[in-house]
Symmetry: C2
Subunit: 601 residues, 2 copies
């Protein structure tokens, strides 16, 4: 069984050389930290991943949660995982010291979480979902809510969830029907159903805290009437006791993968005794929820990258060991067979995986860095980072999710028949990875978000700022010949992206909104490829800088590997935008005009 | 649960309108058949699929074969499936009357098999693998072998297998080590191991007959020393009795999908008493086996198409029923929600699936038609069909396999969270589909076969003949404006393919063989897309002819749907060759030059 699931060397290259996380410690808010602390965080993550998460990766899949007598039983290690995550301070890692957090930069926390998602994605969901839920209470909740919930969530004793989806609504949040009736007390009485709630109930914690959106009776129709509530499974009394809050599990789903975590269907207030506590102002819930949602989207990208990383290293190990065939130029059957990693087509499959994994990780870390920079900045500078983060959130969610699947699939393919069998971990990675284009907003939703909102918002300001960022990297790259060649290709790609963007937004200007968004998913794909090309150029620039310092030995090999992979991305992946651009510039309205009855056959 | 898994209307359009199967009945060999007989075959397939195969689709997955006390127990319905397939004459459908077959054209038999693979892929493997094995004995075996085995195989009492892969050899047949020692009798004594043998043993039949390749002791090294043997699990005596033949199951594999059929690891001759019966001449085994292998490759394409078909209709049904959201142009939350099939992005996902399913089916049927025509022809004409079939076999294997996965994945995506759950069949289709790029020669192997052998064989004669076939369709398409526009695009695509082919074969001419084949998988992909575009043009031409006859009603809707899907393929899929061509014309040797140590990180 493959041992390695992430590359420590690569992770440190990314956070220190590419994204210069150390520079963050110059800000007073992060001044308590240092490179040594960051290194300790990575070490702690690797240790937790290796000792606690990875050993039960396959077992949590095989012994999936069960729903018995109205409650959900999960693998016994979940309690240990929540406890260790709480005690280590990892659930509250990014919260300020005064809230009981560690005030850790998101850039570092993201690297930490990456390790654990790669070690065991299902296991990582429990603590990090709790993180996001607690952060939401911290950001918009009353002091009383904070006091009652945060500590128990940060300690890992209580699970946090995000409760959005309803059976009749799916992705259409306009159609939520969970209703909150005001009372004379400080709470509302809630009634409704939620589906697909990750970790919505389980016996690895003492309580579950739902961050739930619903509507106060009489609220405006549609998304403008959505409010955010804290709805505990057991409500904490002032005496510290817990009493049932009329939240019931209706069922759990049996899933293709991601089986270590229970996805639940929940019923609230069947007996008229479910109390919901408003977070912030009434009818502002969707805005608040988007904080958690946006974090969750980037976390999905991170998780997808983690799974692809583990699959890549498992296949890399196999390819280095498995003997089969000979060089195409020496077919003599009397010669010994060679490890398959020596075949060009296998190297192509491995380079593809590495290009996706390191490229996807790069976008996610870029977003984390912008998030940190936004928090450290004010005024226009702050707005810049926030806009950049907004713009790239759908990319950070969808690129790793979609390409992660392709990457894992190539990993599986490297193992041939063994990849299809459960004696190797690839088949599980393949199943686990498939959730990511679905949850926290499908790829289709991300496409509409990118093109219909993000690219055009504030007259395209985010997009312009983004192009400036790319231009900076292109400039850096021009100083060395190897990177200058890649920079040229990137500039051409950016020109094509601008051309396509002008074309499709031109359709919007003409008022043909359905046509404008008809190929938004393809636009998202094209945008994602250009974005990852940019991130690979950034990595290539830093790899060349590294080679200036070390021109032989393992570090030099690493930097050369980086350069090969960057070149791979530019040679094999970037050209895919040509076909996408051809389609996007067409706008014949084919999918708008296709009629339902033409599907009858 | 979705009921429909294939479209009868589409299948009949393909076999009668596109491929004119009726014309085959003009040949004396097929003169006993008629359109009525063909219709009865399709009806029988639909009935078997609906009543026998589909009802146990999910159950065969959940109750996978078990290996107990040295033998393999499969779902009890397998015996019924083999019996019904035998009694209906389906296992020997293509064999001549005098061998106990039905002398049915492969075109029709392929349509029949397509239905059953779509109904339940795992179940379909048992009879059709037996078909291929029996055909191999029929083609090259002695009269005695034919007499002993064919009848029992055609009746479904005995299972046939193809036993090629060995643990140490994998795809490298050069390295087979299973050894046959000559004896004074009419048999050899066999010793060796085979892995990944589909239906290699089970209790749904009374005997298993392995068509096995190995080496006679002292044979020339490499593939030139491979011989083909019949190796029964139980050897039939002259008295009709069966005695053990020292063939043991070592284990069965636990797989991601395709769970209804047992994949076994077999050990031959552990006790020195395994008799193997030579088929044909010594050392000619690989040539013989390639008959079964080539059939099996096209069958893999067919099975992949079948799974994608079932997944498509399941998702189509869901999209027509599931209400969610509103038209992008009418966001009023007080209006009722609409079926998601009305959203352009959903229509795009459905059109993509249909484009893949009908396109893949088209290639497979094209190959079947060529096979029938080859059998009916002589001399140069026969050579033409055989060369065309040889050329397109890797495409018929790999395009449906690779794109089938993408298609099923889009089907799953249409269902959102439900697609990931086992209450809908998509997750099983997703698991089942993943086998196809692996078995019967991986996609990488198909790429090398296409570029390294097929395109260049006989000085590119097959490729030239293929271009002539395309040119004929282009000419037909020029008579109507709608198809003429598509024909123009196809001509450009063919020019690009010729350009790329000239470029890469130019590298071969320079003797740089490793570089020549380094991107063979991408060449295969590009070739496949152009090929399917051609098949879509052929379908468009016939759909337009159909519309001439019926311009309203369900038939007209069907033809219009065909045209939309053809246009979809040309607008969304064909442009993908642009990026592929860019890469293929580059030949920078990136994957050749990448060193193993650069992967260390």
């Amino acid at each position: 069984m493959a041992e390695k699931f992430v590359s420590e060397k690569n992770l440190k290259f990314m956070i220190y050389e590419v994204f210069d996380a150390e520079a963050l410690t110059k800000y007073p808010y992060f001044a308590e930290h240092s490179r040594e602390v960051f290194d300790m965080v990575i070490d702690a993550g690797l240790k937790m991943g290796r000792d606690l998460f990875k050993p039960i990766f396959s077992e949590m899949d095989k012994k999936a949660p069960v729903f018995e007598d109205g409650s959900v039983k999960v693998h016994p290690a979940v309690r240990e995982i929540m406890r260790a995550s709480g005690e280590g301070g990892w659930i509250g890692a990014h919260a300020p010291f005064e809230s009981g957090g560690q005030q850790l930069p998101l850039t570092i926390g993201t690297a930490f979480r990456f390790i654990l998602t790669a070690a065991n994605y299902s296991a990582s969901v429990y603590p990090f979902l709790t993180s996001g839920a607690a952060h939401l209470i911290n950001s918009f909740g009353s002091d009383e809510l904070k006091e009652k919930y945060i500590e128990k969530m940060f300690s890992g004793e209580w699970q946090g969830t995000m409760a959005m989806t309803e059976p009749q609504a799916g992705s259409s949040l306009t159609d939520l029907s969970t209703t909150a009736d005001p009372t004379d007390e400080e709470y509302y009485k809630l009634k409704g159903q939620k589906i697909f709630i990750s970790a919505g109930d389980h016996d690895g914690v003492d309580n579950v805290v739902h961050l739930l959106i619903g509507k106060i009776r009489g609220a405006p129709p549609g998304v403008k009437g959505i409010s955010l509530f804290v709805v505990p499974k057991l409500r904490p009394g002032d005496d510290g006791g817990l009493e049932p809050n009329d939240v019931a599990v209706t069922t759990i789903y049996h899933k293709l993968g991601y089986r270590g975590a229970p996805i639940t269907q929940l019923s609230f207030g069947e007996n008229g005794d479910c109390r919901a506590y408003l977070v912030g102002e009434p009818h502002q819930g969707l805005k608040y929820m988007f904080q958690m949602m946006n974090e969750a989207r980037i976390d999905v990208g991170l998780g997808a990258t983690g799974i692809a990383s583990a699959a890549y290293y498992a296949s890399l190990e196999y390819c280095g060991e498995r003997l089969q065939g000979r060089k195409i130029t020496s077919k003599d059957p009397l010669q010994p067979q060679i490890p398959i990693i020596e075949h060009a087509d296998i190297k192509r499959m491995l380079l593809f995986q590495r290009a996706v994994v390191d490229g996807a990780l790069s976008i996610v870390l870029q977003c984390a860095k912008w998030s940190d920079m936004g928090m450290m900045s004010e005024g226009e500078e702050k707005e810049k980072y926030e806009l950049l983060l907004d713009l790239l959130t759908p990319i950070a969610k969808s690129y790793p999710s979609e390409m992660g699947i392709c990457s894992v699939s190539q990993g599986l393919q490297c193992l041939g028949g063994y990849g299809y069998c459960d004696e190797f971990p690839l088949e599980q990675y393949y199943r686990d990875a498939r959730i990511h284009p679905i949850h926290e907003g499908t790829t289709g939703i991300q496409g509409m978000d990118l093109l219909g909102r993000k690219v055009v918002m504030k007259n395209g300001k985010a997009f312009s700022l983004y192009l400036e960022e790319i231009a900076k990297t292109v400039k850096q790259a021009q100083s060395k010949e190897e990177s200058a060649l890649l920079a040229q290709d990137l500039e051409k790609a950016v020109e094509l992206l601008k051309e396509v963007t002008a074309h499709v937004t031109g359709i919007a200007i003409k008022g043909e909104i359905e046509l404008f968004l008809a190929d938004a998913t393809l636009y998202l794909e094209m945008f994602g490829i250009v974005c990852v090309a940019w991130q690979w150029l950034l990595q290539a620039v830093n790899a060349l800088n590294g080679l200036d310092k070390k021109s032989s030995g393992p570090d030099a090999d690493f930097y050369r590997g980086k350069l090969f992979t960057a070149k791979y991305f530019f040679a094999y992946e970037l050209p895919k935008i040509e076909g996408l651009a051809t389609r996007l510039k067409n706008s014949d309205g084919l999918t708008v005009e296709m009629q339902e009855e033409y599907f009858n056959d």
